[in-house]
């Protein structure tokens, strides 16, 4: 009896599971745990988007522990693990990314965009990467071993939106099995923006263009800041209701911040609520990094396509800025701020500023780059709305 109990204990060790002796577990789990440790390393040591990569990485580790059933259901008792509970509560339902977006809205200052609305076009252009990557995903599917349908392709494209909650929301709606690689790609590339963007930006611009100084932004009144979220929401309600969950929660957060009469709510959206949801969301997303869904050619395809999406978005932003200068030479735009249109707030705007100062240390582009930067958030949400509205109809 004691022997059989020791045997039972041995058969319930993780080691036994890693050796592939239990159905559903194996060496793949060990590899994914190491991937989780790499994410932790990147987050802690390299400072890559730590809020998300620490939680996603830890979620990945916990979910891949054999017979821990932390992100699954224990077959012997029927009890669901705590990460599965969190996943069902907030990712399967789509609630968590919406709440994060509320907090993002409450932390965003649309002032620079209101002061110079034409930078919205830069935020539009930079979404090109989304659709090119979508097409790329469908093209890659001709390669044996890689297989993406329209739902998957749309989710992969949205990586190019450079906006975490949008990517997670769209993927949870269209292709939840791909959440792991898509979220990891999105956050990793957002962290890598200072490495990905500068070469593209300098390749597409002349030194003279990079030295363009822009007029100082006019001050924006409180009333304008209050009316802006309402304007955006109204436009969205009339044109593209499928984008209203995202745009609506973003603008709700922003209105709460700007209206000045509900500061305690806006504080909570930015802090307690956002932090709680970030913890839950990160762990849940990490749980989709299961060996069986992650360790395949598709993941490699996603990583490549994500990089392409970021690069094309960056290039499109810069190029459209140059086009705008051609069309309206009186109000010149430094094309370096075009790259900020991919969103990746506020990292991309800082990159614009930094690259600009390499050509002219006295040229302060940060404020100017914040306009396209936040426009990119709106642009990605609009693109997400198109995907969510059209793909189920096309596929059905």
């Amino acid at each position: 009896m004691i022997g059989s109990s020791f045997n039972q204990l041995w058969q319930s060790t993780g080691l036994y599971g890693f050796m592939g002796m239990v159905e559903g577990f194996g060496i793949g789990n060990l590899i994914m745990i190491l991937v989780g440790f790499v994410l932790l390393y990147l987050a802690i040591k390299k400072g890559f988007e730590p809020l998300l990569l620490v939680t996603i990485g830890f979620g990945c580790i916990l979910s891949n522990i054999p017979m821990g059933y932390i992100a699954g259901v224990d077959p012997s008792t029927g009890d669901a693990g705590f990460i599965k509970l969190l996943f069902d509560m907030g990712i399967a339902s789509g609630l968590f990314p919406i709440l994060i977006f509320m907090g993002v809205g409450a932390m965003t200052d649309f002032g620079p965009l209101i002061a110079n609305p034409k930078t919205l076009l830069l935020g539009a252009a930079a979404q090109a990467g989304i659709f090119v990557a979508l097409l790329g995903a469908l093209a890659l599917s001709f390669i044996p071993g890689i297989s993406f349908d329209l739902f998957a392709a749309g989710s992969i494209g949205i990586i190019g939106g450079a906006d975490g909650p949008t990517a997670i929301y769209v993927t949870s709606r269209l292709a939840p099995d791909l959440l792991g690689p898509i979220a990891v790609a999105a956050y990793s590339y957002m962290a890598l923006v200072p490495i990905i963007q500068p070469p593209i930006m300098t390749a597409l611009t002349t030194k003279q263009e990079r030295m363009i100084r822009m007029q100082q932004l006019r001050p924006v009144s409180k009333l304008e800041k209050i009316l802006f979220p309402i304007t955006v929401l109204t436009t969205c309600a009339i044109l593209l209701p499928s984008a209203t969950p995202l745009i609506g929660s973003l603008m709700f957060g922003n209105l709460a911040k700007e209206c000045g009469v509900v500061n305690r709510l806006s504080d909570t959206m930015q802090n307690a609520l956002m932090n709680i949801v970030t913890i839950f969301l990160g762990l849940s997303v990490g749980s989709k990094m299961e060996a069986s869904h992650f360790l395949n050619l598709n993941t490699l395809g996603i990583l490549v396509l994500g990089m392409i999406a970021f690069s094309i978005g960056t290039a499109a932003g810069v190029l459209i800025a140059k086009l705008m200068n051609k069309l309206d030479p009186k109000h010149p735009v430094n094309p370096l701020i075009g790259s900020a249109g991919v969103s990746a707030v506020p990292m991309a705007a800082r990159v614009s500023s930094k690259v600009g100062q390499q050509s002219d240390p006295q040229n302060f582009l940060l404020m100017h780059a914040m306009g396209p930067n936040v426009a990119g958030v709106i642009g990605s949400a609009v693109a997400a709305g198109v995907l969510l509205a059209v793909i189920p109809f096309m596929a059905g």
């Binding site: 002032g111 539009a124 659709f131 924006v220 304008e224 009316l227 802090n271 426009a375 609009v382 198109v386």
Partner: protein, 91 residues
């Protein structure tokens, strides 16, 4: 989403066609939407300055101010202020 070993070629071509349509539709919608917003925002601002020409209060604030754990940050600021105050008061 279904993971297939490989989709039949015909279906892949149809998908690609759909993808092109989606790209056209998507880029068009994004541009129409944001271009419209350019005009609406300009109109809104013009209207505000005409109807409520209040002295604008807020200069656009720094993006660095995107709050990170606001409470502790501001406490640190306060602590810094105290230290600075001391340093000065001892001069």
């Amino acid at each position: 989403m279904v993971f297939l070993a490989q989709l039949p070629k015909e279906q892949l071509v149809t998908q690609l066609q759909n993808g092109v349509i989606l790209m056209v539709l998507g880029i068009a919608t994004v541009f129409v939407f944001l271009t419209l917003l350019v005009f609406l925002t300009k109109g809104m601002s013009a209207l505000v300055r005409k109807l409520a020409p209040e002295k604008p209060k807020a200069v656009v604030s720094s993006p660095a101010a995107v709050s990170t754990s606001a409470a502790s940050a501001s406490e640190a600021d306060i602590a810094a202020a105290i230290v600075a105050a001391f340093a000065k008061s001892k001069e």
